[in-house]
Symmetry: C2
Subunit: 133 residues, 2 copies
């Protein structure tokens, strides 16, 4: 018996994709008040964190963060009310999705094999990235 | 106003990942009665289709397909009742997840910018793969 975990991303329109990486970044900005500290806490380069945030703000009519005194490099960053709303919406949807997923795939999970044989067969069957399995 | 679309994969235990690719493959096997025809219909190599199916069957105590006369290369493949159950569970979960996702992210979708400026900014901000945005 193994529990299902749902990995997901929310695509809105043609440009905007919101997944666990962007949400974790926003949460860390909320906690630390700094984009560079948020990046460090997530083991992410500052450049990548900046890109994630820029693509989010570029897609939305209302920003999810504000840069403060000195700009994003020198000063701090903080969440806007809309940024906090986005985090809440994502986390509530995530929790509900995990609950429903565990229920929906319980019968499949009950038949999952957990033996060395299964692991060997999977390894043999795939040089596939997990996303394609 | 843009609608949210939820892209997801179901991970069960450490080995089993079930996403749209495997489900589409099972559905095509159900329709065509043949792994090679199913692969062709999805624009997938036979080798890749075989790998997807093998990793699925290796992880489960009960197979999702049966090979018929001549083996999977020569003969046909058909869904088992458990294979059909898996497809139904996935499709029902998918439909419910899309309904809930559209509702959960309506307020965010209402603020999505659809202008050339947004597209330009996103392109500039990212050499990022979509999954990391």
């Amino acid at each position: 018996m193994a529990n299902a975990v749902i990995r997901f991303r929310v695509d809105i329109g043609a440009e905007l994709g919101i997944g666990p990486g962007k949400i974790a970044l926003l949460e860390q900005i909320g906690e630390s008040g700094s984009l560079s500290q948020a990046a460090r806490a997530l083991g992410m380069s500052y450049r990548r964190a900046w890109q994630l945030l820029a693509s989010l703000n570029a897609c939305l009519q209302e920003p999810v963060t504000h840069a403060q005194k000195g700009g994003q490099h020198g000063g701090g960053s903080s969440l806007t009310p809309f940024g906090r709303q986005l985090i809440r919406a994502y986390r509530a949807f995530d929790a509900e999705t995990q609950r429903r997923g565990a229920r929906a795939f319980r019968a499949v999970g009950a038949k999952v094999r957990r033996t060395r044989r299964a692991r060997g067969a999977v390894a043999a069957a795939s040089g596939l990235p997990l996303s394609e399995r």
